[in-house]
């Protein structure tokens, strides 16, 4: 049972365009929804995260939109740059104190062409 479904698998965007990656979850107990960015040969690193008490969170060019009733959340990258080319993972967890057992989506390979 895949608890976090991510789409698309890959995405090609022109420089300056908007990149949109979508995720859907099944477990209504999840209360933390992060996005991780991974460059080749490196470990994933937190990009931005949201909790279900807000519908949108923006940090610079990156925005998470969250729809609790639909159990969906998405990452929008505005003014996409070649340096944004990486693999992006959505994730979800039920948090207990410091324990964050993240369930990840399968990832989206983003390529931003110059």
């Amino acid at each position: 049972q895949q608890q976090v479904k991510q789409s698309p698998q890959s995405l090609i965007v022109q420089k300056g365009g908007i990149s949109i990656i979508n995720c859907a979850y099944e477990n209504t107990a999840f209360d933390y929804f992060p996005w991780y960015q991974q460059f080749p040969g490196k470990g994933p690193a937190l990009l931005i995260a949201i909790r279900p008490d807000v519908s949108e969170k923006k940090e610079g060019r990156f925005t998470i939109s969250f729809n609790k009733s639909a159990k969906q959340f998405s990452l929008h990258i505005m003014d996409s740059q070649p340096g944004d080319s990486a693999t992006y993972f959505c994730a979800a967890s039920k948090s207990w104190g410091s324990n964050y057992k993240l369930t990840f989506g399968k990832g989206t390979l983003l390529t931003v062409n110059p």
Binding site: K42, A49, S98, Y100, G107
Partner: protein, 113 residues
């Protein structure tokens, strides 16, 4: 720098041999995790630890065991490696309540021939 060191970074081994991967942290955090990453599967939790000698299974724990005898070290052992365990293994730590952020090491690439 998340203060996480994984070793070895690369290993090639043969089917049936035991393998141990080590994760070392320098910051004394309670929670540590082992994930594996495979194309088309994303990252999947193998085991995690919530303190010395306190561990629990993740979603893909079959064929793996872990140990944590010191706060700073979390070991992942494949008792008898199989080709299906060829993967990139990531260790991660949680730095405290409320942040929700996991900090990942740089990974250990394991190839089982």
């Amino acid at each position: 720098d998340a203060g996480i060191t994984q070793s070895p970074r690369h290993k090639v081994t043969e089917t049936g041999t035991p393998v141990t991967l080590r994760c070392h942290q320098t910051e004394n955090h309670r929670y540590m995790y082992w994930y594996r990453q495979d194309p088309g599967h994303g990252l999947r939790l193998i085991h995690y630890s919530y303190g010395v000698k306190d561990t629990d299974k993740g979603e893909v724990s079959d064929g793996y065991s872990v140990s944590r005898s010191k706060t700073e070290d979390f070991l992942l052992t494949l008792e008898s490696a199989t080709s299906s365990q060829t993967s990139v293994y990531f260790c991660a730590i949680s730095k405290g309540p409320g942040t929700g952020e996991l900090f990942f090491g740089e990974g250990s690439r394991l190839t089982v021939l």
